[in-house]
């Protein structure tokens, strides 16, 4: 557990020297931009996300895009989607929106629930602690994919899907954060400044908010930074299985679910979403690693050259 909380500038300084982390942060930033500016960029390209282009696909060959590399051209930067002829760049950009939106929201839910439960467990009575820890154990043991599959199949399509995905993934995955939060709370609780606050008459809530919560920031943020890429993968996996966002909304996992059909005839349609998932997860993982190391330089760095 961290002893001193590094100041933000110290943190930034350490982060900046870590080339891998900076690379990750830059790419992650670009992806976020892509997600935020998707409609703008699509308009720039001169396309929109829903128009069909029958003339750009070969109907007799099952709807394969005409032209090499899946129909890439000046008008369609990443080519077109098979069968429909819709602009692929627009759909990939929307996929970025979905992936990031769901992953970030799910992480927020997981952190929020985890911190609340962890704090309560760490600060509360022995009974509360035991009950909550058991709950966290159950949450960790829940097979996320299977329960998400079941939950997502139950809920009717009238509920907005990205929100549902975020909630489901979030609610099933707060166990790890809770454990971390609880551990840190327990260790902080025995500290002098907490005892002092208590003696001065501060109630439980106040103690939690002012004394403990800041101390949780570092480990929780570190953990969250690595939760994000996992959530990206989970969303892609669920979309791949067909229970993610519904068409016509686009998602990378969804594109991959038809990969076996298109691999031979339109390999770009498979490689592009695969690459996007890879890039997203890699960049956020590198960034997360960088955050972790910058917050606690004593942690063994994977790619550190010296010792």
């Amino acid at each position: 557990m961290t002893e001193a909380r590094p100041g933000f500038r110290v943190f930034l300084g350490r982060f900046r020297t870590d080339r891998a982390a900076v690379f990750g942060a830059v790419v992650a930033g670009l992806l976020v931009l892509l997600a935020l500016l998707a409609p703008v960029l699509t308009a720039l390209e001169g396309q929109d996300i829903s128009s069909f282009h029958n003339d750009l696909v070969d109907s007799a060959r099952g709807g394969v895009p005409i032209g090499p590399l899946g129909g890439m051209s000046g008008q369609h930067w990443l080519g077109v989607e098979p069968q429909t002829g819709r602009d692929l760049f627009a759909r990939v950009a929307q996929g970025a929106q979905i992936s990031l939106l769901v992953a970030v929201s799910a992480t927020v839910v997981q952190v929020f629930l985890g911190v609340v439960v962890g704090l309560a467990a760490g600060l509360g009575s022995k009974l509360l602690d035991t009950v909550l820890t058991r709950l966290a154990d159950i949450a960790i043991a829940f097979p996320v994919i299977i329960f998400s599959l079941a939950l997502l199949t139950i809920v009717p399509d009238s509920v907005p899907r990205p929100l549902l995905l975020a909630v489901v993934i979030g609610v099933l995955g707060w166990g790890g954060t809770a454990r971390i939060a609880r551990g840190q709370t327990l260790s902080l609780r025995t500290r002098d400044f907490v005892a002092a606050a208590r003696l001065s008459g501060a109630g439980g809530f106040r103690v939690a908010r002012r004394e403990i919560l800041p101390g949780l920031a570092a480990p929780v943020i570190t953990y969250a930074a690595l939760l994000l890429p996992t959530n990206v993968i989970t969303e892609a996996a669920l979309s791949f299985l067909g229970v993610g966002v519904r068409p016509p909304t686009s998602s990378w996992g969804q594109m991959l679910s038809t990969a076996t059909t298109w691999f031979r005839s339109d390999v770009m349609y498979v490689l592009i979403p695969a690459f996007m998932v890879f890039l997203t997860v890699l960049s956020f993982t590198l960034m997360g690693e960088g955050v972790r190391v910058a917050l606690d330089p004593r942690t063994t760095r994977l790619t550190r050259k010296a010792g």
């Binding site: 996320v144 199949t153 139950i154 890699l282």
Partner: protein
């Protein structure tokens, strides 16, 4: 130690109970009516629907259905199937709505597939993961180390279904080096069994390995820096003995617990792996059962997987407590 074990097992049972209750609740909330699905579309009349509902036990209140299920788990129960009534011996996981077969049997039939997948992959990822990690630690700073580290990071970033898909496409469609994986039981033809599973094994191992590489490398580095290693070296013990007997043990203990947890994780992600490779294991059964709103099968699967997870977690905890004497069991 015994008390600890008993407490853990009791906790595990509680977890399983809660999981099964949650699944029942989930299905109660389902808008799709399983009786409707069994009844079919073109010839279903309200009367037929009622009869089917009754035979599936769906006309009972939820808590009664759950109670029958729990009783069946412990003592077995009788289930009516139209003209006949069958006795389902304990532990009775019920009969599938869609297939009118005992759920336990369905699961056991498919277990060898998932089991083969997990075990084969585990052998690969443990041996390679630890081997590469240790190698990397011993060659720290050289090009081997850097390449390995880069690959590890890359491996962490690609989800199994993508690696699997790409491997399938490249090796079976494009290069046609191997045929598409199908399931051949081990007792039928061991060579064919292994041949079909080699691709899923390698892919699974590749995706699980990175963590082991990293951890064994880190653990090795840490242990190598410790006093007793220096002492052993100072005594003039051959390097092989130093590494093999002294360093490895310290480095590997956290890995054992991780392995137990990963076995559980692989099983739960079998849903994806089996989808990608088209293998008829419990993962594929799960996807089918959820789509068919086949409550008994889903409950059975959740219980099974929960059981495996809990067992693995318990083993991991107990192993950790036993191996690393510094950990107290309170």
């Amino acid at each position: 130690m015994l008390g600890y074990a008993v407490r853990r097992i009791g906790g595990a049972a509680a977890v399983l109970l809660i999981m099964s209750a949650v699944v029942y609740l989930l299905f109660y909330l389902m808008p799709a009516n399983p009786a409707q699905l069994v009844c079919g579309i073109k010839t279903c009349t309200p009367d037929r629907l009622a009869v089917i509902s009754h035979s599936l036990g769906l006309d009972e209140p939820l808590y009664l259905q759950y109670w029958h299920f729990l009783v069946g788990l412990v003592a077995g129960r009788d289930i009516s199937m139209g003209p006949s009534t069958v006795h389902c011996a304990a532990p009775c996981l019920g009969y599938s709505f869609q297939y009118t077969e005992p759920v336990l049997q369905m699961i056991l039939d498919r277990l060898p597939v998932s089991g083969s997948l997990v075990v084969g992959a585990a052998v690969l990822w443990l041996s390679f993961g630890i081997g590469i990690g240790v190698l990397s630690a011993l060659r720290r700073g050289r090009w081997v180390d850097h390449t390995v580290n880069a690959l590890v990071l890359g491996g962490l970033a690609v989800p199994i279904f993508i690696t699997g898909l790409l491997a399938l496409m490249v090796f079976c469609v494009y290069l046609q080096w191997i045929p598409f994986p199908t399931w051949v039981p081990l007792d039928q033809d061991p060579l064919l069994w292994a041949q079909n599973l080699i691709l899923p094994w390698i892919v699974l191992a590749l995706t699980t390995m990175p963590v082991y590489v990293r951890m064994s490398r880190a653990g090795m580095l840490e242990t190598l820096a410790e006093d007793h290693i220096r002492t052993a070296r100072a005594y003039g013990l051959p390097e092989r003995q130093v590494i093999g007997r002294h360093a490895l043990r310290g480095a590997l203990s956290p890995l054992i617990t991780l392995a137990a947890l990963d076995v559980a994780a692989i099983l739960t992600s079998s849903v994806l792996t089996e989808s990608v490779f088209g293998l008829p294991g419990i993962g594929q059964l799960t996807v089918q059962a959820v789509r068919n709103v086949d409550l008994p099968v889903v409950v059975g699967l959740v219980l099974l997987i929960g059981f495996v997870i809990v067992v693995c977690n318990t083993i991991a905890d107990l192993l950790y407590a036993a191996v690393d004497k510094r950990v107290s069991v309170s």
